[in-house]
Structure formats: structure tokens, C-alpha cells
């Protein structure tokens, strides 16, 4: 039996070519635009936290968002969606200390689980 996954269908690269009639010079995946659009307000908010002002044209924020987006998408592939990359970055970053320092993750403890021999 020849068995194969359906993954290649899900691996198709879907890119935004540009608005009708105008083709953008670079074709980026839709997800990249999406992430960019999320990041800009985020950076604006952070900016606002510092300055309590909102820029009319958030140049810095856009620049940072572009850099961040491209940085994130460097790790993205069909098997590693952006969401996972970001999440890994966030979770793995926390409390990341060499074990020599004896920082530990919580032990996962199962002793509270109640056990019944029979279901009903």
C-alpha cells in the first residue's frame, strides 16, 4: 500500500501579490502581513506607555514591526506556524536558567488524582 500524507496540500505557499492592478515588488505570505498589523499597534501601545502620546505616523513602530516580523518569519515554515514560533519564544524564554543554578520547573505531581477501580 502506498501511503502518503496530505500535508503537501497544506504546504502550498499562499502569498499576497498586491492589490488588483498593482503587483507588489515583494510577495509575502498573508500571515506576515497579519502579524505585522498586530505588531504595529502593540509597539504603539508600548510607545504610549512611555510617552503618553500617539504619533500620527508611527515610523519607529512600523520599522520595529517589520524587523520583528521578518525575524519571526525566519523561523516559520509550514510545519512551524508563526503562532508556535512566537509561543516557543515566549515560553522558553521564561525562567531559563542552566540547571546548575537549580532552577526547576514545577514537578508534575500526580498524587492527588483520585482512583476508582470501577467506573460506576
Amino acid at each position: 500500500m502506498r501511503l502518503r500524507t496530505d500535508d503537501d496540500i497544506y504546504r502550498a505557499r499562499l502569498v499576497y501579490l498586491g492589490p488588483p492592478g498593482y503587483t507588489l515588488p515583494v510577495h509575502l505570505p498573508y500571515a506576515q502581513y497579519g502579524l505585522f498589523m498586530l505588531l504595529v499597534p502593540l509597539y504603539m501601545f508600548i510607545h504610549w506607555l512611555f510617552t503618553f502620546t500617539v504619533e500620527l505616523f508611527p515610523a519607529w513602530e512600523i520599522a520595529l514591526a517589520i524587523v520583528t516580523t521578518s525575524f519571526i518569519f525566519r523561523y516559520v515554515d509550514p510545519d512551524r506556524p508563526a503562532r508556535m514560533v512566537i509561543r516557543t519564544a515566549l515560553t522558553d524564554w521564561r525562567r531559563t536558567r542552566e540547571p546548575a543554578a537549580e532552577q526547576r520547573d514545577p514537578r508534575l505531581v500526580a498524587s492527588r488524582i483520585r482512583i476508582r477501580e470501577e467506573l460506576a
Partner: protein
Amino acid sequence: MNRPSTPGYPAGHRAAPAGNRARSFDYQPTEELDEPTLDPALATSPGQGGVGVFQAPRPTPQRAPRPSAEPAPPVADADIDSPFLDLFGATRPRLPRAAIAGPGRVVEREQPPALAGPGRVVEREQPPALAGPGRVVDREHPPVIPHQPTAAAAPAEPGGPPATGRPVADLPPPPVIETFTVAEPAAAPATPRVPHQVGDRLPSPRPPAAPPTLSPTGDDVGPERRTDIPTARDRSAAAGPPAHPTPGPGLREAASATYREAPAGSLRETSAVPYREVPAVPPAGAPPAEAVPPATREVTPPRQRSAGEPARAPERRDRPIKPRRIKPPKIKFGDRDPAAELAITEIAGHLTFTPNTVTAWYWLPEVRWAFRPDAEREALLSAISEQYAGLAGFRLHLRRTTRPFPADEWARTIDTHTASPLPDVAGTPGWADHLVAAQRHLLSVNHAEGQTYLGVTFARRSLGDSLTERLLSAFGRGVAEGERRRLGRTVEQFDEVLGAFGMRGRRVTTQELEWLLYRSVALCMAPPGALSPITDGRWERGDLLALTEQVERYRTPYGSTVKLVNRMTGEERHVAVLAVGRMEPLEIPERHEPWLHFHERLPWPMEISTRVDILGSADSFRNLEHRLRMIRSQQLDYAEHGIDAPPELERLAKRALVIGDEMTTGLPVDSARAHGWHRIAVGGRTREECLERARRLIQLYSRELRVSLQHPKNQDWLAREFIPGEPIANTGYVRRMPVNLLAAALPQAASTVGDRRGDLIGRTAGTCRRPVFLDLHFPMEVRERSGLAVFVAEPGGGKSTLLGALGYLAARRGVQVTLLDPSGPLARLCAMPELRPYARVLNLTGSEHGTLAPYSLIPTPLRSEFAAGAGGDREYEIAVSNARAERRMLVQDICMMLVPPQVAREASTATLFRHAARQVPAEETSTLDDVVSCLGQLDDDAGRELANLLLDTAEMPLAMLFFGRPPEGLLGPDAALTVITMAGLRLPDLKIEREYWSAEEALALPMLHTAHRLAVRRCYGGSMSSRKLVGLDEAHFMEGWRSGRSFLVRLARDSRKWNLAALVASQNPRDILGLDVQNLVSTVFVGRIAEDAEIATEALRLLRVPVNDGYEATLASLSTADATSAARLGFREFVMRDVDGRVQKVRVDVSYVEGLLDHLDTTPTAVAAGGNLPTVLSDLEA
């Protein structure tokens, strides 16, 4: 818990000095570390986990020097080493010792002066006894530690058993004390008992003595503890005031040294602190205690803390007054809560409950995969995929974990089946040692049995349900009964789906779920020891879950592994979780192994977790259509922009269409999809080892299966995903596949062969490695089949060695063994020291007249062998006349072999021989001489000529064996092992015509025939039911003769009746097939057959493996030497078919029997060199 206990060091023999010798050469020496070695510092305290494991206290390294340091060694010192002494009056001695301690002693004990008072000392010593394994308490006191250097320095791990063990030892008997107290008052109190411990994991004999000032963690105090108090008090009273001295300079030094070391360990170490009980401070003995603190403080090097102490001292004094539980002060850490609960809240029967979901768990038994016809395999896979498809709409969790092979269980089995093993010979490994060596070998080669669990998450719990559970659990009741009843009805559908052919799943038991949970939390770690011999693992309900408390998890930033540490055993594991990435198309039954079974090629156990959502046809079609539309719109986009669309889009769209078409028109099996995540966890003792293993696994998969395993970050979450009920780590590496492909993962595939009650002869060498046991009497005694076992291989394929090894092993078990080995090397078996008294070699070439007299080779049946009554009589008479007919046949054949072939070919010869055979009574007492004289008396010339010809041959020394009467007692049943050889006999080449054989070669043929008979003849001597084994080498000489065939048939038939295991080795399977006895063959070993494809085909037929399916190549590749190595091949492989029809590739490995291989080695050079066996076996297939 360390390695599974090996039972059967009977009578305290510690298994031969074997040590490494017992281990297979397959593994590098380091491999043995896989069995966690016991670090005394980390051993659990007795009674921990509710298991009766008593860790015998052992002397810590510091012990040795002590005696010299001590001015007057206390009497009982060395021997009193039991932790239990604490619980009895024995505590008394302690005080004395403390008092005695001289300055020199101080160095050993790091105890700071803090413990000045004798009464104090006592207190401190008590707590260790209580140290429980699971306590979290240790973490809570870090701040306190600094000013207590001792505390910090002492125990690496909280509450270790050694801690308990040590105290007593330190204490000399009371009388001595007094004298010494006077002499050296200062040192004594200060240096209570903690020996100098450097690193933080070193075994500390006793938990650090905490300074009296510490606040107790009252919670854990058990009743025993309380009972101790009185003794403590007594002791302090006894010791009296003399105990508080000012510490000597030496002491201070020691203390400061301690302190230096302390900080490192401090966080973890505190164990002593938590346990120290305030109540222990003797109320009565209070005065001394008070006196102490000032002195102590003076001494303690870390001055910083001293300020706080005075304040605490009074508090402490008050406390004893009211014994009650005291809440330890909560100490805040930056760290998160050190323990997190699992998502699972309840296990009920085979269901597990998390707050949101309910999962039903099933146990999937192993299925046989190797050497099955492809049609069968496909049927299996399609049945499984149908079952998966039947679970559409549910999320599945497929887990595979392992259990170390229960070697002790096997040893017990074989021991019970061995009524009378060969008596031990002094100075050699006895039966018990033999078993122990085998068990060691089993453990050392890391055989693990797979266990596959399938969880079906089938219900989402309503808010009401989980709230009810929460409420009820406050009253200790858990999930509401109504909900459970409701679920009980719904799960029945899964029993139906999963129980059918295919997976044949059955509900798991709660014990199995516990085991799974423990194995998942302690991923890739050694399983708790006592459970290994499942049959009497004494884990009570919930014990295993409690053991999860000991497992700590560490990780590094963006690390590639997670580190797991078992606090109790000190075992440290690094685990890397790999995710299944891109997969190329697989041809599963034909070319590839099941893709989640494949990892078993590597010799270390791994864990598998697969989480999939099964989508039914509607869901999967919707999903696919959505994807198709996206692709189409992208294509449209390209067209709008006037750009060439990448060709892949069109290709993918087409494929999506095809799949969509299959989905809409095909069966549910075709349309069901499994979207999910597949992970494999690889463990190692060190990070490097773990990564190396991961690398090899990745390599293996990409090379052989074209599956790319990925090694993502976020390892701790991934490791957590293995635990039932825990969330999915992340959405990366989702694989979308038809259920067929998921079914073809087949993690439950396995390849076992052999019975589980025989001798260990090696391991399977297919995709997975399992030990192979073979009891050659199993077919007769249990399966009621014939005991004929056939060995086929090319010369050099290892037939003789295997035959010899089996003979040896059987002889050890007290089986009466007869081996016929014409070429003679097996005779050396009799020289093995443990067999020598019970073995004899019969060399036919040097034997007396009549040894092979044909008439007497066929025994006359005894009436007692048949049932009573008329039926029995009849059978008996038939048997007797059969024996006569067989004798005649044999005599004729032998005579034909003795005369020259030209004469034999004449028609009259046969007639005359037949005539003579008829004339001579066919009884055991007749001889060939009777035949000759009968022929000579004929008035026929031809007859006389034949008689003369026979007499001519009789002049050759070897032919004398056929004439005359057999000597008495030639082959008594006395010897356990008899090897019949024909040293010096030249065996003819059967491909050459008989005419061209030399006289000697011609004589070899009848000799072989009769020798075979002789070997078997011996077995008919004893009782019918006693176990007998006959090994016949070179059986291909029997081919082509009537008597040969009748011999084998009779052997096969009689084997059951006489409980006779007959091993027949031949170079050509055609001999056996040609004799048409293959229906009577129960066990088959086929070795390397590379030369002749036809023979290989015949061999497969003998194995009953489908021919022309590519398995011929397997036979050719057996025992393949590595062309690049100059060393000899150290192992032999066979394809084995057992009595139950299971076929598997087997690597014979009897290296655990000391000296056996040396004695069996037939290679000339090895014999000359003293039988050095090549030790380097390339065992790792990848």
C-alpha cells in the same frame, strides 16, 4: 529505586565473579550505566512510597578513616548502623559519641558548634529518621540555612536513608562517653555527626543537624517521631551538663569549612531543617540546651546570623511544652510553585477525568509483524484503519511506553520448570549462578517490552459536572456518580470498536493507568524497581502516582533537552522530544516497517506519544475544500496580476481534487483523516548522550523511512505532552494523513518468538529486540506437538555451535542429553568444569566390537509403555513387530552400505539380503554375524560371495563396530551429557558418486546411520516422561535411505511419547522436506543461506514463510560480516520458527554462560589460540 531486583541469589551466592562477563559484548561498557547505579546519598529512606524496600545502610566513605582518628573506638560503633535504632532505645549511645569526639574528629564531622548541648544533639539526630521522600519542605527554609553551615553541608538529598543509617553508628556506648566528655568537652557537642561532605550529592550519612534555633515544620511529624522524644530526653538527661564546652580551634576550622561549602547546596539541602522537631527538645533537659546557644554562636563562623539567635532560643524552649503541629513559615521564592498538579483529577476504571474532558483508555496488545505474508499484514492494517475511522470525531492519545523485561519472573519460571537441575560442582557456577548470570545478561542488554495505550477523549464535561466534582472532592468523593454512570454507557461503544480484530484493545486497569502516568511524568527514566516483576510488585493503589512527586524537571533556555531528576534515586535523565516532521510516501507492508514501530531498531527504549484528531468524512472534506479554495484563489491572484503561478499550485490543486473525490465517493475509511502530532522521546544519562541518541534516531528515520524527525524547542512542554490529559505542547508539526497511514504507524507491533519458560538463547534481531527463550520440551509438554527441531544452515552458519549450546543449557537443567557430533568439536563441551563429572564422550572410532551392531540399535518396546488392557496389548504387539520390521530394514540398508556399490546395485543382492534378514530372527540379540553365516550357508554362489564381501569389510577396524554383540552398559542413562563423536572419520561428499568414495569414506555412511540410531537408542533406556534431548549433526547423510526416513519419522513420532527433544542439523532443508516430516517439525532454525537461492526457498518453505516475497534475501543477509572489519563475526543469526508458528530473526547469544563459547568454538585458529572469542559485536544496526 534502582534496577529491578533480581531474585535468586539463592543462598547468598553472589553470582559468579562474572560481573562484566555476563554482559553481552554488544554494548559498550558505558551502557551499563543505564541501570541507575545507587548513589547512597540519594537512596530513599526505608518505607518510602509505601514499598518495603529497605536500603541497607552502607558505610559512607568517611567511615574508613575514622577509626584511626578516634582515640578510643567505641565498642559497638561499627556495627550499629540501623536506622531503626532511632526508634528504639538505642538512641542512647549517640550521645556518648558526640561527647567523645575529639578535635581530630571534628574535621570529619562538620557540625558547627551550634549544637553544644547534649540534649540538643539528640534532637537533631532524630529528625533524620523522619525524613520522608516526598517532602517539599526542604525548599522552604533556605534563609535559615546560612547560619547553619552544618545543615547545609550535610545531606545532599533530603531525607536520604543513609541519613538515618548513620546516626547510630556514630555513637559509641554510653560508658565511654562519660570519660570523654570530661576530657574533651568542647568538641563533642559541636561535632555531632555529620561527616565531611563535599559535593552536594554526596551521601550524607545523616541529614544535617539543624541548629536548635530553627523553627520546626511541624506538619510532617509522624507519630514515630513523637515516640522518640522521650528517649531523647532521657539521653540528654543522662549525658548531663558536661556536654557544653567551648569548641576547640579545630572545630572552628571545620565549621568554617563547612560553611564554605554550604551555600551551594543550601537551597536543596535543608532537609534537616524541616524535619527537626521542636518537640524533640527535651523540656526536662532544657537547662543544657539553653546553655548551649551562646557557646555555639561563638563558634559558628558565619557570624552574621548570630544576632537572630538569642531571640529564637527562648522561643524554642517554650515550644516543647505543647506538642502540636506548627505551620512552617511560608517562604517565598521567585520560582513558581514547585509542584503543579496534573490536569487529570480522577481515574475511574479505565476513564480519566480532567476538568474539561473524559478519556477512555485501552490497552493495545502487541501484534506480530515480522515474516508475515503481506496479505495478512494488509488485512491487519485495514482492520485497524477501520477502527480508527470508527472513532471519527474524537481526539486520540496513543502512548507507547516500555517495561523492562521481568528477568526475575522468567528466572522463577524456569526454576519451577526445572525439577532437578544438574548438581553443582564445587568451584564452578552452580544452577543458581547460572540463572543469575542469565538475568544479569537480560538486564544488561536492556530488553524492554512495549506497552501501547490508546486514549479516546470522548466527552466534554459540562461546567456543572466539573463544579460538582470539585464540590464533591471537598468531601472526598470525586466525580459524581450520575456522571460516571452516564459515561459508563457511552464508553461501551468504544469497547465494541476497539475490541475487534485489528487493535483488539481491552480496557486498561487502574494499575496500568497509574503506571502510564508515572512513566509519562518520569519520562524515559528507570521505572520504579519493585514493579518490574509485575507479578509481585507490591505497589498499592496510588503509590505510583505518589512517586511522581520525586521527579523534578529542569530545562535550559531554548534547550534541546529537558532534565529530569529523581530526587530519591538521584537518577538524572535528559530527554529530547522529537516531532515527526515531513513524511514522504511510504509503502508499508511491502517495503517499509511501520513507522512508529521502526524506532525499536535502536537498542534503547523510547517513548511515543501521538495525539490525533480523527476527522470523519464531512469534517475532512470541509477542511480539504477550504484548502482547495485557498489554492484556487491564489492561482486566480496570479492570473489577475499576470504572473505565472508556480506550477506546484496546480499540482496541489489537482491532488486536492483527487483526494476530495476519494472522500466523497469512497468508504468512510478512505475519507477519514487523522490530523495530529506524533512525538518520540529519547532519553540519555547525559545531555550529550541524549542528543547523540536523538541524532541517530533522526538519521535512521530519514535514511530508512524518509521521515524527517524534527527537534523543536519548547522541550518541556513537549515532554509534558506525553502525560495523559496534559495539553498539546504546540501546534507545530501537525501531520495530516489518511487513517490508513496512521494505522500503519503500528506502535504496538512487536516480534516475539519462543516460549517464556526456556533457556535464554539470544534475542530477536529484527526491528525490535526481545529476549528469546527456548525450552525444547515445551512443544511436547505443553503444546502436545512433536519435539523435532530442525537446524539448517550453510557450513559455518553456526549449526553445531547452537546445537552444542542448546545441549549444554538443557544438560544444566537436568535433561539427559545425547549429542552426536561426527566431526567432534562438541566433545569439548564435556570438558567444561561444571559438566565434567556428569559428562562422557564416546568416540566411536575407538570403540569395541559391536558398538554399532544394527540389531540392538532398535529397542524392543516394553509392555509397560502401553496402556493396560486389550487395546494396549494390541498396540504393544504392533509396536514389537514394527520394531522387528525396522531392524530388518536397517540391517538390509547397512549391509547394502557395506558392500561395494557395484554389487549393491545388482538385483540379486537386495533379494539375498532380504532373504537373510528374514532368516535371522529380528531380535535385539541377533548380530550381523548371523546374517553373514546365513548368507554363507546358502547354496547360492552369489550368497556366499556376499558373505565374503561382508567378512572382508569386517576386517577393517571401523567395520568391526557392526559385528558382534554390543558391550554391556555402553550408554547407560547415567551421564547427563553424552557426546558421541567419530573423531578421525572422513565424511564423504554426497555430491560425488559412491563408486569414487574411498573405503574409509564408504564406511562412514553406515557408521553415521547407526550412530544416529545409537544416539537415540540411549533415550529409550529411562523412564518415558523424563526429559531427554538428542542432538544429531550432519543429518543429511540420512537422505536417500529407507531406514533414514523411517528413523526421522520414528524420532518425530516418539518424541512426544518419550518426551524426547530431537534436534536435527542439516546443511540442506531438502533433506527434511524430502523426508516429508515437516509436519512433525515443531521448531526450525534457518541460518545463513546465501549460496543457493533454491535452498533458500526450501528453507523458507520449512519455515512456512511465503516464498518469493523477498525473504530469501533475508536468509542471505543473516550473520553478515562487516566487510570492513578484520575481526571474526562474533554472533550468529538464524531465522527461527517456534512451535506456535511465530517466525523471527534471532541473534543467538549465549555469552552469559562463562566459557561456553570458548568450548564451542570450532574455528581452527580459535581452538589453537585457546578459544578467544571475538568480543566486538556490532550490535547497533543503525
